[in-house]
Subunit: 383 residues, 4 copies
């Protein structure tokens, strides 16, 4: 990968395309490159994902934060809510300013779909970091999230905001006003990116996904089981058999090849764990392949998939979550177990960056025709 | 389970058995019950497992510690090596006293087999906490441990010290002098106990074992990758495809039924991870069953296997490692995924207790005819 | 120290004392030694201190737990509240059984004083682990705790349950029914025991107490600032200038000598910090001495104070909190700074054991004439 | 503070100054502003501070890394040494390229002074992150560091690289070739910045500095006492009475006023602790003032000292280390204890950034006439 590469080129270099529509993401992005930053708002600014959006967007060279929205806040200083961001001198209000051009929603499941009309009425690009616009099949919402989707007719027009798989769609949707981007979940990003090359190659006969996450993915609300005393020196599985992110993983991997090609991506065995750390997800994907394959072939499919990706690195040994802490990087390793012919793919990311806020910014950049890594160049923090 | 239950009954209540031989573990255990404690020594007292053996044996009601052996120590006070044990006023020397009746060996792989003759010449019971007496097939040592076993002829007479599977053998071997007990590894204990009921039921068609461990399992020697700065806020897989404990797991699960019955226990997919905590192992065992099975049937096979076990609890929801911290408990949960018909079994233990020192003491107790929970009653420490 | 020493001797060997009154702690303790355990109840069993009381009392050789009380619990299994204690098969109810002989109260400040009459009406020994019976001066409650003490007339009869300073009073109060023991706070225990020898020697001219605690001392209730994500990788001071434990420290150190002797124990500078760990307190006590003193003299005053104490160890280098984790031990080091003539005393303990539940059991033992270390012999857990 | 403020203005806006000398830092900085980046090398690139220098300098807009030096490395890829920096595609060699214009030295104490002639011969700016150029009095080296300084004649020309106290000197030294900057230690930065306003005001009658640090300050070499199992769940004091950083603190605070004004800054009581986290230092400075002072007066002296500082924030409540994690920020709070008239000043920083690499870059920027926050704008990372 080369995080310095300007993914923008992908969107910009289209001489035969018609001009983007007025009020579209692409038109606003073009203006931003000329010095008029895109005016963005963040709804759900009080949570962990909200904080991370602020951290990234505050230093984004083509963006200006014009609104922070939290529940029932009337101009409260951000310093009291997120002390680490105190130097930015921002305040939290109860509504998005009308002149915002894009809005990032970091809300509980189901809340975004109910508010989206207001934002679209003002031609804002909507980047939803919740689940409301991730799934294509409305029936998946009652099945996995236990609510009826209030606006199923919008699902078709939303783009699943994983640039590595949907970059073209993000570009396209960004050329009209009111684009909706459903930013992926943290486990799905880790797992889909780890497995996409294998799925494309039709290699997944049987699949076990065993994932481990830091606790920030569970949000900031105080809960008894997120108390330091409960998490520290403790590992536990949770959400066995019913974790909501399963639906996304199956949807996206399933789209990379017919079920007959990858029978293992139907009814997958997905098990998440909570480990005593704040950030990071590691997804170990245990694959029994549909047919015999060599390490050389595996290396080739991963190289083909990711060589040009600005935020993906294929590693030569299993990566650790700390290798990407605080950055928008995704790292993946894929190995062949010579003893039994199985494949192991391991992906890591920072759940609040590439698994949430960073990826949302990346998708926002693509839709707006901005350089894809803009605002996301920060290197991982270690130790 | 009932940790108060005296597993000793199993060993003691054998009216028709001949008397144990003089100098045997059982004879010495019988004397201990009358007030003459078994004299034990610990070799490898400077490490983490050594410390844990001291912690447990120092308060064992039927044992007296008569010797601590560390590398090149000449009476050094234990307080300088293990400050937490300073109040015991013990010292570390360079050899086992001749009057020891049992010796616990916490040594690097390959070291125990080279020393064992000295101990057996004095009729000591040998409880080896390394790998030298765990595997039955001498060819497994070069294959998994990269050394030729120096005393392959002893492998047959050693007992794999997992009381839940080999209690009768422990009793038998304890009735003659010079018993050799190969105490199981930490991952194998977690995994074998989690899966034994399924293996006995012939249910394992396909098996993925994804395990997570605290760092104390890697020993106390300073290593760059065990530095706090490297482990903290980090999760990583390691030993992929070649972890030595795989051999034990396959040996023991394979012995519970023919390979044709459980094809999944041959060439298993075992992947360990290091997580940022000191103690604890969680083993998630993903099983595709040989045939359809119900939750009720699963509950029955686990209940049958473990109801009377003093240190095993079958739980109704996935257990966490902190539920057993500092204790000799093993907890296991087994669930059926209704969506895809797969089985998930999750086991947890404290790698230094039930995964090492505690289990060694438990096996020692059984071989000596002592109450099985003697010295092991301490409850888990939480939070 | 010698934790095996039976502090009981101190209480038991009093041939000329009159017999303890019927229904008194001492009478019940004497019966317990003959095989009839003291029947104890724990109120506030759902919290961290409650769990720790259960962990210790469940294995106490002279005690039987006859009641666990939590808020609005109707026979809920303990396993659901404290999974680590699941094997004990206990249940939580909403009231103390009438036949309890002693009751341990782990309640929010102010709650114990309001309930105590019920318990005393049944001649129960009351061991309060809250603050309601720690302070002698009723005016200290509004000043430090912001409530008027509802039963100021009881304060005189309560004993401050720090056996190292008040052993004789605990013995005396245990000889009559309805004894009230106010078990000390965690910071005060650490600080008072670290400084008592210096206070007795009249050495404290000026005093800064800088303490560091794990988060379990803040209780189990979910709070935003105790979320793992907030505590992990974080150190912060809190309660600056107004921490309630200041009152106890001044009361107890002040009682060891006139203020003119130790001017530094009036208006002390006490600053606690929260560090990212679950258990443990370290109190660094910076003393400017009233007069020049040598290291030899310091060693002598600490040796004199603590040589015979079953749970106190004077160390030759600064102790760490992990040296006492999970045990009832207190360790202290005192050094003279040759460069500037100042004294530094550092004490450590486990805040839930010697700083709460363990100390309460220790004081209970003394009052009941039981061996002082009964139920408290467990060695520290490390690593 | 305003991190966006261009501290460069301080250096740049000097119309009457003569032009900087050719080969000087200032001349090279001026060229860098025109597009020709300063060519920098890092010696000691394999350690934690080295990694942090790479992390910051790799994205510095006016710098190009032209050399990384580690012990006996011959072009080893950085990815193998610091996996988190793998995407930068850098390599480690055994010598500094001759065309480097500035060199950052992250070496053990005593190593820098021995090598410095080579670098100065090539007119490089030398920024030493070790202790060799921090102290003005050569006699302090044998006293605190136990070695004779090999080049005492250089001490006078070196500048103590704390921009908040020595900005003018940094500007001056940067106008001639071969500037030597001794970047401050981590504890001294925290403590000096926390206390400088009080020292200038002549308020320090008596001083206790009680500091807490994460373990990364101890470097990356594997040591038994930095093993995760030893640090986790543990707090301990160390270096009592003799910590080397004491000398720096006394030197710098002493320079802010005569000893008669601040008697407390001579022979200070400095006690560091190790807490279970990777990054961060909190320094609690307990001050008995020379005379009565009000909170309003305290607020005024801190505001005066720091209002214009780009990396210092005065807070209204005690700051936590996590508020500045990964950033170059320093935060400080100062409060008056109304009860006893004492002052408490608490400072926090990230020991690897403002306590080491970040501060070195900040000082480098000032000396080169670059914008002071260049390369240092990254916001803190939380949670």
């Amino acid at each position: 990968m080369s995080a310095d590469a300007t993914g923008a080129a992908i969107a910009a270099d289209r001489p035969h395309d018609p001009l983007p529509e007025p009020g579209s993401a692409a038109e606003r992005g073009a203006r931003a490159m000329l010095g008029d930053p895109v005016r963005v708002a963040i709804v759900g600014a009080s949570g962990y994902v909200g904080a991370e959006l602020i951290r990234l967007l505050a230093l984004h060279p083509h963006v200006r934060i014009v609104g922070l929205v939290g529940r029932e806040r009337k101009g409260d200083p951000l310093a009291g809510i997120h002390p680490h961001l105190a130097t930015r001198n921002l305040h939290v209000y109860d509504r998005v300013p009308d002149d915002a051009e894009a809005v990032f929603l970091a809300l509980p499941h189901g809340a975004a779909a109910g508010r989206i009309d207001d934002y679209r009425a003002n031609s804002m690009t909507v980047v939803d970091l919740g689940a409301d616009f991730r799934l294509r099949d409305a029936a998946d919402y009652p099945r996995w999230y236990h609510f009826e989707h209030p606006r199923p007719e919008l699902l078709d027009s939303a783009v699943y905001g994983l640039p590595e798989l949907h970059r073209e769609e993000l570009v396209t949707v960004g050329r009209k006003p009111g684009a909706i981007i459903g930013a992926p979940g943290c486990y799905p990003t880790t797992t889909i990116l780890a497995l996409a090359p294998l799925a494309r190659a039709g290699l997944i006969e049987d699949l076990v996904v065993d994932a481990k996450s830091g606790v920030s993915g569970a949000g900031r609300d105080p809960k008894a089981d997120l108390h330091f005393g409960e998490i520290n020196e403790n590992v536990k599985a949770y959400g066995q058999f019913t974790h909501r992110h399963t639906a996304e993983i199956e949807q996206e991997l399933g789209a990379l090849g017919p079920a007959t090609t990858n029978p293992g991506v139907v009814g997958i065995d997905f098990l998440p764990h909570l480990v005593p750390m704040t950030r990071g997800i590691l997804s170990a994907c245990h694959v029994r392949p549909t047919h015999e394959v060599s390490q050389v072939e595996l290396d080739a499919v991963y190289a083909e998939a990711y060589t040009d990706e600005p935020f993906v690195t294929v590693t030569s040994s299993p990566p650790a979550t700390k290798h990407v802490l605080g950055s928008n990087e995704f790292r993946v390793w894929c190995g062949l177990n010579e003893r039994n012919g199985r494949i192991l793919a391991i992906g890591v990311l920072d759940n609040l960056v590439k698994g949430a806020a960073g990826q949302a910014v990346q998708a926002f950049n693509v839709a707006h025709g901005l350089p894809e890594p803009a605002g996301l160049l920060q290197l991982p923090l270690a130790p």
